[in-house]
């Protein structure tokens, strides 16, 4: 099951990267970033998973899964959301100048 999660996560990471590389729409770029981020989250969460474990919530019996990665994931989710929010804010502001969200036309800085 863990291996399956890893494979899925890597595939989603690659899909995200592919989206950023290929799509010209700025929103697509940000969506790609979100996909990549989710993939990494999936890896972290599944790395703490123990077959047959129970959630590490206070009164538990038996073997709990590792709670450490959950804490990391929570942090990473928040950080990722703030990154995406910032990117969207930049897009809105840039749209005022370029009047487009086409990435290939936003190239005032070059050389």
């Amino acid at each position: 099951m863990i291996l399956l999660s890893y494979a899925t996560a890597i595939i989603i990471f690659c899909i995200g990267l592919y989206t950023i590389m290929v799509r010209r729409n700025l929103f697509k770029t940000v969506l790609g970033l979100a996909l990549m981020e989710s993939a990494v989250l999936l890896i972290i969460v599944s790395s703490g998973y123990i077959p047959g474990g129970v959630p590490p919530i206070a009164p538990f019996s038996g073997q709990a899964v590792n709670p450490l990665p959950h804490a990391f994931t929570l942090t990473a989710i928040v950080i990722g959301a703030s990154d995406i929010a910032l990117a969207l804010a930049f897009i809105v502001k840039l749209h005022r100048h370029y009047r487009t969200v086409d990435l290939d036309r936003i190239r005032g800085l070059r050389g």
Partner: protein, 87 residues
Amino acid sequence: MSLSFMIFLYVFLIATALVISAINDILSAVITLSVFGILLATAFAILQAPDVALTQAVINSGIVTALFLVAFSQTEKPECYSEEEEE
């Protein structure tokens, strides 16, 4: 949860990711992202991480989608900006 359900979930996850990547309409892609977030939250719950699943559902499927929609509505009408300034 059985392995077969997990496989089904992951296949569906990858499928939604592909849809997000491939679809041309931004609005649909954003809605699909929301679905993707819910699926991911389910996966987290199955991986015995209910706390993460909750956060994921709220933040990634809720707030991020809302932000996308706001930003998208802000940039939706290029003509109206240009007309305003040209006149």
